[in-house]
């Protein structure tokens, strides 16, 4: 029982991989595995973006078709929720959608065995000192989702001020009746909190369930469950995060 407990704890919490020393001070910036996985995802997205937008032409062909379909999809999603001013918000929301899609389903690409498993498999001494690294979704770390939620609410505030000017934006706090002022202010605290916790909770819950299934019955069975918990749930949560953000933006901007 305690063995399962420690193993689950180890998988659930982000652990420090290495640290970057700050020059002229004793302080070191810890780099967790969440950050390393985020770097890998960023590299993959940048690489794909470069490949798919190379040699653009007026008449799309080949891979440019795919890129245009993706952009069109994001534009329509934002257009439905935000309305007239969608052009201002589509690039950011599309970026967040792409990042969340890749980061939520990244654990299905986790095919490289870690150092511990290699050591068990081959009994070779070298593998014992390998860093214990696995591709786990970075969104199961609450720091990542909190960051994304704060960026979303900043988008709502800045977009609102940009579109309605400062006076118009301040007026919307008194929108239906002036008595609603405290609730409207409270909105700006509750919205990012619920966005953050929703994404974190869903991904972590799916991750824990998958981890338990891996422990209970490793062959074949996890593959079937992975389709729901990793793929379907991950894609749905990425869509919901962007959908809700664009809804909040639309509420203020319209």
């Amino acid at each position: 029982m305690s063995d399962l407990n420690t193993e689950l704890n180890h998988a659930m919490l982000p652990h420090e991989m290495f640290s970057i020393p700050v020059p002229f001070t004793d302080y070191k910036i810890p780099v967790t595995d969440t950050v390393v996985v985020t770097w890998i995802i960023m590299a993959v997205i940048i690489l794909f973006a470069y490949i798919f937008t190379k040699k653009l032409s007026m008449v799309p062909q080949g891979k440019q078709n795919f890129a245009e379909v993706v952009v069109e999809l994001v534009n329509n999603l934002v257009k439905d929720a935000v309305g007239h001013h969608w052009r201002l918000f589509a690039p950011y929301l599309g970026t967040v959608l792409l990042f969340l899609i890749v980061s939520n389903i990244v654990s299905i690409f986790n095919i490289i065995p870690n150092g511990e498993q290699l050591h068990k498999l081959t009994h070779m001494e070298i593998f014992e000192h390998f860093p214990n690294f696995a591709l786990r979704p970075p969104t199961k770390d609450i720091n990542v989702t909190a960051c994304l939620a704060i960026m979303s609410i900043l988008l709502v505030v800045i977009g609102g001020i940009r579109v309605k000017r400062l006076s118009g934006w301040l007026k919307h706090f008194l929108h239906p009746i002036p008595v609603m002022l405290p609730f409207n202010i409270l909105d700006y605290v509750i919205k990012p909190l619920s966005l953050c916790l929703r994404l974190f909770g869903n991904i972590l819950a799916a991750f824990i369930i998958m981890e338990l299934i891996y422990m209970a019955f490793p062959p074949v069975v996890p593959a079937a469950f992975s389709i729901y918990f990793d793929l379907f749930d991950g894609l749905l949560q990425a869509y919901i995060f962007v959908f809700l953000t664009s809804l909040y933006v639309g509420e203020v901007v319209e």
Partner: protein
């Protein structure tokens, strides 16, 4: 002490019952709405998703409390 914390976490996760009932009601009404007016399917899908997501949030808060109990006290 450990056992009590486990029971507390289990009670916190019971919030999922309410979320399950809420999402069930939302989806059943959405199905009814679409069968009555198939042309409004697109709009109904968006509203259903929003309702389901807001109902689900309660379950997530319960889960979050359970995880906090497990990590901080267990």
């Amino acid at each position: 002490m450990n056992g009590l914390v486990a029971i507390a976490a289990a009670i916190a996760v019971f919030t999922g019952v309410g979320a399950g009932i809420g999402i069930g009601i939302a989806t059943s009404k959405a199905a009814e709405g679409v069968s009555r007016q198939p042309e409004a399917a697109g709009q109904i899908r968006g509203i259903t998703l929003l309702g389901a997501v807001l109902a689900e949030a309660t379950a997530i808060y319960g889960l979050f409390i359970a995880i906090l109990l497990y990590l901080k006290l267990g």
